[in-house]
Symmetry: C2
Subunit: 413 residues, 2 copies
C-alpha cells in the first residue's frame, strides 16, 4: 500500500461531536469515516483490521465445530410477532415495502430467522447437536449512539447459535465456547484485561456470561475478583456480593466494556416456533439452545482503547493493517522503493509512506498515529551507510541497523 | 465437511412459489433457504460458492488497483435528497428512527455515500485517480421479486467507483475494468456465454456496457453479433440496428441475464456534492467518475442456470463448494474414513457423505444434485479390491481406479 495513493487521510482533529477515544483515534488515523451518528465507513486501513479480527473469530468458530452461513438482514414481521419481540424490542428498526406493503424488521439479532430455519433441518435426535454462525451486519435503533464504534446503529457481529438435545449437552458446549472466546480475546491481544463476567441468566440458567475488557472507556461497572480473575456485573452483586467462582468477598470495582457474551437460551425461542426433535424413544422434545455473540467493530474499538498512547494507536501485531510502516525521506527514495519491492516479494505486508510533499515530521507523526508495529525509515543518511532506522511502535528511540538485519528485526516482532 | 452433520438438507421438491430454475436447484440441493419472496439465507454449501465468487472478484479488483473499503447500509436522508434520488428512486427502502425521528435510506447503491466521502479526501489533482470498491449488502424494494436469487430484495454486490481528473483518464480505466470483468466471468466459467453488451449511456457517454450471459432464464433480449462477439440491448437496437463494433447488420436475438455493468457517470454525482479538485494551474474542476457493479448472488444463480442438467448442478471447479464428494457405502466405511482424513491432511476440500441411514441411490442422487466436480465412491466391493469408484459430474459412467491413482484423478480436474 502506497500511502500517496491510499484512499484515506490522517486528520489533526477528530469531528467535534465525537467524544470517545476509540472513534477520535480511528478517525484521526484514517481507519474509519463517520457518516452520521452511530454509522461509520471502514476505510482501507480500518477494513484490514476488521478482516484480521474476522479471521481470528472465524478460525475459532470453525475449530469449535461451527458451520458458517449467511442470513439476511431483511426479516419478515411474522417471525418477530411469533416471539413477541416485534412489539417489545425497542431497538428494532421496522418499515414497510412501498410496493408490497409487507412489513419488515431489520435484523438486530437472528433468533427469529435461525430457529424457523433449524425447524426445516432438525427433526430427530440424529440431527443434533448443531452449531451455526455468521459474520453479518446488525442494525439497532439506539436511543443515543455514543462510545464511537463501540455502540453503533449498524455493526458487524459474529453470532453463533447452538442446538442441543438436552441441558447437559448445552452445558458442555457452553464451556467449549467459553474457551473459544478466551482464545479469541487472547489472540486479539486483550486477554490480560478481559474477564469472564457473571451476568443475569434469564429464566433458564442462573447465569449468563459476558466478557468484559477493562479500559478507561468502560461503560459498565464490574466487580473483579483478583483472586481468581472472574468478575460479576452490577445486577449480580446486588443479590450476591461474593465471587461465584471462589466465594471471595473482596471484589474490586472497575469500569469495563463488554466485548462478547454467551447465553443459555434454553427453550426460549424453540418454544414459540415449536422447534422440536424426536428422541430415541420417538418422544417429541423441545430443542435446547445457546447463543454466543461478538461485535467486531466493538472489539476493534476496544483494542484501540486498550492500546494507545498520547500519539496514537499501538496495534497488536495480528490485528495491525500492516506489519511494517516504511517511511521514505529525502534522498532515500531509491532505497525505499527497493525495500518495498522486496517486502512485496517476500509477502510482508507494508504500508509505504512514499509521499513527496510531506515533511519528515509529518511522516513520523502519522506513523505513530496509525500505529503499525514496526517503523522503518530510509533517508539520504541511511542510504549512504547501507543502513535503515528502525523503531517499534512501543519504543521511544529509533536505532540504526544494517539493511540485512531487517528480516531478523521483523521476525522478532 | 461430514454430510451427516451438515446444516443443510437436500429436498425432493422446491417450494411451490419458486419458478426459477436457479432457485429451484439451489434450494433443492441445500445451498440456499428461502426466507420470503426475494430474501434468502446462504447455507454452508451456498456460502462456500459465494465466498469463491467473492475471492475471484476481490483478486481482480485488487489487480486493477482497487482499494477495498466497507460502507454502511444505513444512509442519511440528506445525501439522497442532494441527488434527488430520495424521491425518484422507487426501489429505495426508506424509514424513520423511532427514537431520533431521523429518516434513513437503506443502501440500494452507494454513490450518495462514496461521493461525499471522496470529497473529504480529494482536493488536488495529486489525489487522483482513485479506485475504491466494496463487497457489501444492497437492498432494493423490488416490485416483484422473481427469478430466484437473480433479483432479490437483499443481495451481495461488488461496487467499484473510480475518480478521475478528466474523461481521457476515465476512458482508460474503463477499458481496464472491461478486461477485469471479462477475466472474472472467464474464471467463473461463464466466459464463453457472456457478452459485452452495448447499452444506453446516459447524458455523459454514448454507451454504457452490460455483461450479458446467455441462459434459458434470460430476462433481457439482446442482439448478438456473431462476427465479433459483442451484443447490443433493445434500447440501442431501436436507434441503430448494427453492431457498434464491426458494423455487421446480421444480429441474432437472444435472451440473456445481466451479470455485471460498467458505467461512465461523468459528473452526474460529483456535481450535486461539488466534488472538485484543483488542477496544476490551480483551477477548480469537477471530478469525473465511473461505476462498476457485479451482483454476487446473481452471478451464482447464473452459473447454476448455465451449468445444470436434469439431475442437478455442475459447478465449475473454482466455484464448487468442494472438489471431491466422497460417498461411503456399506462395507466401505473404514476406507472412506481413511480417505477423508487423507484429503484433510492434503488440504483437499471434500464433502464426505458419511450418512449411515441413506441408501446408495439417495447418495448418488444427492451427489448429482449438489454437483461437486468429482464423485468418489467406496463400498465393500471397492474396499476388498483396493480400488475406488470415480465419476466426474459431467460423466455418465463410474469407473474403478486404484486408490493410488486418486490424486492424479483430482489433479486432472
Amino acid at each position: 500500500m502506497r500511502q500517496s495513493q491510499l484512499f484515506t487521510k490522517t486528520l489533526k482533529d477528530a469531528p467535534r461531536d465525537e467524544e470517545s477515544t476509540n472513534a477520535k483515534l480511528l478517525i484521526r488515523a484514517g481507519f474509519v469515516h463517520k457518516e452520521m451518528a452511530g454509522v461509520y465507513t471502514f476505510l482501507p486501513l480500518g477494513l484490514r483490521v476488521l478482516k484480521n479480527i474476522e479471521n481470528i473469530i472465524r478460525e475459532e468458530m470453525n475449530r469449535a465445530g461451527g458451520q458458517e452461513l449467511f442470513m439476511p438482514a431483511l426479516h419478515p414481521k411474522e417471525n418477530w410477532k411469533q416471539t413477541g419481540r416485534w412489539d417489545s424490542l425497542d431497538t428494532l428498526f421496522r418499515f414497510t415495502s412501498y410496493y408490497t406493503k409487507q412489513e419488515y424488521a431489520l435484523g438486530a439479532t437472528h433468533e427469529e430467522i435461525v430457529v424457523p430455519l433449524a425447524k426445516t433441518l432438525i427433526s430427530s435426535y440424529r440431527d443434533l447437536p448443531q452449531y451455526v454462525y455468521q459474520i453479518q451486519n446488525k442494525f439497532r435503533d439506539e436511543k443515543r449512539a455514543k462510545s464511537g464504534i463501540l455502540r453503533s446503529r449498524e455493526f458487524l457481529m459474529k453470532d453463533l447459535y447452538s442446538f442441543h438435545k438436552d441441558e447437559a449437552d448445552l452445558d458442555a458446549y457452553y464451556e467449549t465456547m467459553k474457551d473459544s472466546y478466551k482464545r479469541i480475546f487472547e489472540r486479539a491481544g486483550i486477554g490480560h484485561v478481559t474477564h469472564l463476567t457473571f451476568a443475569s441468566g434469564g429464566t433458564f440458567s442462573k447465569y449468563s456470561h459476558e466478557f468484559q475488557t477493562i479500559t478507561q472507556a468502560g461503560e459498565d461497572t464490574i466487580y473483579l475478583c483478583e483472586k481468581c480473575g472472574v468478575a460479576v456485573n452490577e445486577e449480580i452483586i446486588k443479590d450476591q456480593p461474593v465471587c461465584p467462582e471462589c466465594q471471595n468477598k473482596n471484589l474490586k470495582q472497575e469500569k469495563a466494556v463488554e466485548v462478547g457474551n454467551i447465553f443459555k437460551l434454553g427453550t426460549k425461542y424453540s418454544e414459540p416456533f415449536r422447534l422440536t426433535y424426536k428422541d430415541e424413544k420417538g418422544k417429541e422434545n423441545l430443542v435446547v439452545m445457546g447463543c454466543y455473540g461478538i461485535g467486531l467493530n466493538r472489539l476493534m474499538g476496544v483494542v484501540a482503547e486498550v492500546f494507545h498512547d498520547e500519539k496514537g494507536i499501538l496495534w497488536p501485531k495480528v490485528l495491525a493493517p500492516a506489519l511494517v510502516h516504511l517511511l521514505s525521506l529525502a534522498g532515500g527514495e531509491q532505497q525505499a522503493d527497493e525495500l518495498y519491492k522486496d517486502f512485496q516479494n517476500k509477502g510482508i505486508e507494508a504500508l509505504y509512506d512514499d509521499r513527496r510533499d510531506s515533511s519528515p515530521g509529518e511522516k513520523f507523526t502519522d506513523a505513530d498515529l496509525i500505529g503499525i508495529p514496526l517503523r522503518i525509515v530510509v533517508s539520504a543518511k541511511t542510504y549512504s551507510e547501507g543502513k535503515v532506522g528502525v523503531k517499534k511502535r512501543n519504543e521511544k528511540q529509533e536505532r540504526l541497523i544494517d539493511e540485512k538485519e531487517i528480516m531478523e528485526c521483523i521476525q522478532s516482532l
